[in-house]
Symmetry: C2
Subunit: 109 residues, 2 copies
């Protein structure tokens, strides 16, 4: 399909998925698909799809117990997003300093 970082960015680009992820992070215990569904206005299948996307992005871990699948949030992959953003933080001030820093530190080719 697409590279890992793109999967991650796409996963968090959808507002419903961000909400689901947030709910899982905040939850004091793992939540089943049905439990998640009950908190959202979309069908259970819709939730299942979102969970799958989040899982493929590494943001959710699933633990099957009997007929239930308990979902946990895993925020670690967001480190990648943080790293991506961090590079651009040197350009936040809109001055040329950021670019100068960049040009000075990269290997002269």
């Amino acid at each position: 399909m697409q590279d890992k970082i793109t999967k991650l960015f796409k996963a968090i680009a959808d507002p419903t998925r961000r909400d689901i992820f947030h709910a899982l992070v905040i939850a004091t215990s793992a939540l089943s698909i049905t439990q998640i569904s009950s908190q959202f206005d979309i069908s259970r299948q819709g939730v299942t799809k979102h969970i799958k996307t989040l899982e493929e992005a590494g943001l959710v871990n699933i633990n099957t117990n009997g007929r239930e699948r308990f979902c946990n949030a895993n925020a670690k992959p967001l480190k990648e997003v943080s790293k991506w953003v961090e590079f651009y933080s040197q350009f936040w001030d809109n001055s040329l300093q950021g670019l100068e820093n960049y040009l000075n530190t990269k290997d002269n080719e």
Copy 2:
């Protein structure tokens, strides 16, 4: 359409758009649409569309001069992404500490 933060997340979710944005950040001067197009394998119209998306996300500023439109990157909106990620950084270690911190600091309702 959709809320600002979602526009921003969607803007950076596309790999081509991330590349265009990067090229603009790195560029030592503003680039016209045609100049950008020459660096990518998609048509000029394709680039125009991506630029529009980036502009709507606030990540690109455009300065029209005659028949040319010069594009500058503006990394500032990425602060929002940084803020979003930062909240979850307390959960990176996968321990319960993050959740405890969250529960302790939020207003008890």
